[in-house]
Symmetry: C2
Subunit: 363 residues, 2 copies
Amino acid sequence: MSEHNQVTVNLGERSYDIHIRSSLLDDVSLIAGAIHGPKAVIVTNDTLEPMYARSLCKKLSEYKEVSIIKLPDGESYKTLDTLNLIFTQLLEERHDRSTTLIALGGGVVGDMTGFAAACYQRGVNFIQVPTTLLSQVDSSVGGKTGVNHPLGKNMIGAFKQPVGVFIDTSVLATLPDREFSAGMAEVVKYGLIWDHGFFEWLEANSSALSSRDAEALSYAIRRSCEIKAEVVASDETEKGQRAILNLGHTFGHAIETHFGYGHYLHGEAVAIGMKMAITLSLNLGSLDEKYLYRLDALLKSFGLPTNVPAEMTPECFFEHMSVDKKVSHGQIRFVVLVGKGEAEVTSNVNYEAVCSAIMACTE
Amino acid sequence: MSEHNQVTVNLGERSYDIHIRSSLLDDVSLIAGAIHGPKAVIVTNDTLEPMYARSLCKKLSEYKEVSIIKLPDGESYKTLDTLNLIFTQLLEERHDRSTTLIALGGGVVGDMTGFAAACYQRGVNFIQVPTTLLSQVDSSVGGKTGVNHPLGKNMIGAFKQPVGVFIDTSVLATLPDREFSAGMAEVVKYGLIWDHGFFEWLEANSSALSSRDAEALSYAIRRSCEIKAEVVASDETEKGQRAILNLGHTFGHAIETHFGYGHYLHGEAVAIGMKMAITLSLNLGSLDEKYLYRLDALLKSFGLPTNVPAEMTPECFFEHMSVDKKVSHGQIRFVVLVGKGEAEVTSNVNYEAVCSAIMACTE
């Protein structure tokens, strides 16, 4: 039998476990055990519905009354209107507060399902079953949920913790290369902000990971979840420390918004953004250039971009960054590294240093 | 100087005060003190904007940077689409997480502003400045926020506590009679579920209240807020006890939905619903008919309806009640009285008893 890894997110009465194993979806008793009421609804998208949702629905039906809500696939559908499709079907099927929602999919499905769970009848339980590397190592853990607004990404949402996260590493075998690479960007982030030893392990195992070696992948996912769980437990609603998880995201969101959702994948934009953030950290004087080259090489080894097209000028960045959630009292906040594996949030960055970091990472 | 009453809602780190006084809006320093960041946005409707919002905005501008968001007036606009108008203007004006929203209006404005505050950038502070009797004694206190869905009232929402509630009793002088009466329905409710002495005080003071005597009104509002604060503090997210505040609401929501939002005011539907609930309590054998006549007389003394038109059959009630949030595990739950001033939530009511209570209150 395959190894079963378990990571606990310690949040008092909102604590929950992350289960990581291959072929987890073959035996759904673990998932069924996390559903407390008599009914569950699987929320997924039209791509994943035939791949995983029908089979999960059939297997879970031995334990619970289960139905499926199918959303259109893609970040461009992560909107209030799509959210309303979930509410409408839940009401049509007369679900009450005892129903559990199951998010089966990537970050978009997880974010919307979690937000729907936060709002439907003022709150029902939900479970994350992430099917992309990015959602397995990042978005399914920690309770950030929400939808996009034409004027900004993730601007409408809630902190809503799932009651369990179930990661089947086998599903990664069929993940498109580009999506796999995008997920690796967030894995690299954990090495940068929290654990330099993990960063070095990623450097040493980059070929194994790129060829999706099961054992290497399983370790990378577990270590990522452990770090995320630790950071989230220390600051659930991002009053301070948790913001270090946004390394590269202030720049990254600006890139995503500028080119339109879907042009760059989130992880790709974050990869470029992280390089900018580390460049900014150098300019602040805390790390040497060699570390920047190592990061650049590691990101490239996973097939990730590290530079932004010249058409996106520093002015474009500032335009987008000024409406980001990471703005506080009108000041743009940046996550920087103060050492290897040590991150900090600061508003104390001057305009020139930011411009220079942007320029240094422009093609 | 007028009397300043203060009631605390004890919810640990989410505790806040309710301030009750006449002419409270003449001196806004109290409200300004509850705004922590540099900016505030007054959310109101187009009827109240010229009456109160402009003046409040002007006075608050001496302390903070303030703007106004104007929503269309009416329960029919309590939707996700209207909510999105709030998000759009907040984003256009580049508000970040340090902005405080101020709900200036009745229950519709309060519910939507609170829900917007719960979701904008995953949560900003908000203040309630209720301008109707109903919102002063009920909806502004306790953190229930949300919008309607075509398939059900308040089906989408969040528990989000305000950081302060500011009640100016002087604004009631201009409230239309019908809205004033609707508010009195919720006041009567507190006497029914919690404090028979208060019920008797309402009987003794019904003329003074109907003529909007300032002293009587001030006491009725304070006592209502005290009771609501006590119940909410014991069960913030309605896992049990808090549900007694829904006395008459299961029937009432069915009436509102059946006739369409706006035909019956919420308080009017609740008045009829309370009489049904007390009739149901009689059928369960816990109170005598004399109490029912007293309730009927008290509601009528405030100009409230106590019977539903015959076109709404018991079947109509069951159709609507089965999608209500108060349904749990498929069972309709009712709030009943087990004695004067003593309420209880039960699913243990048979179909015939409910039908008979509905019929007894049909014209």
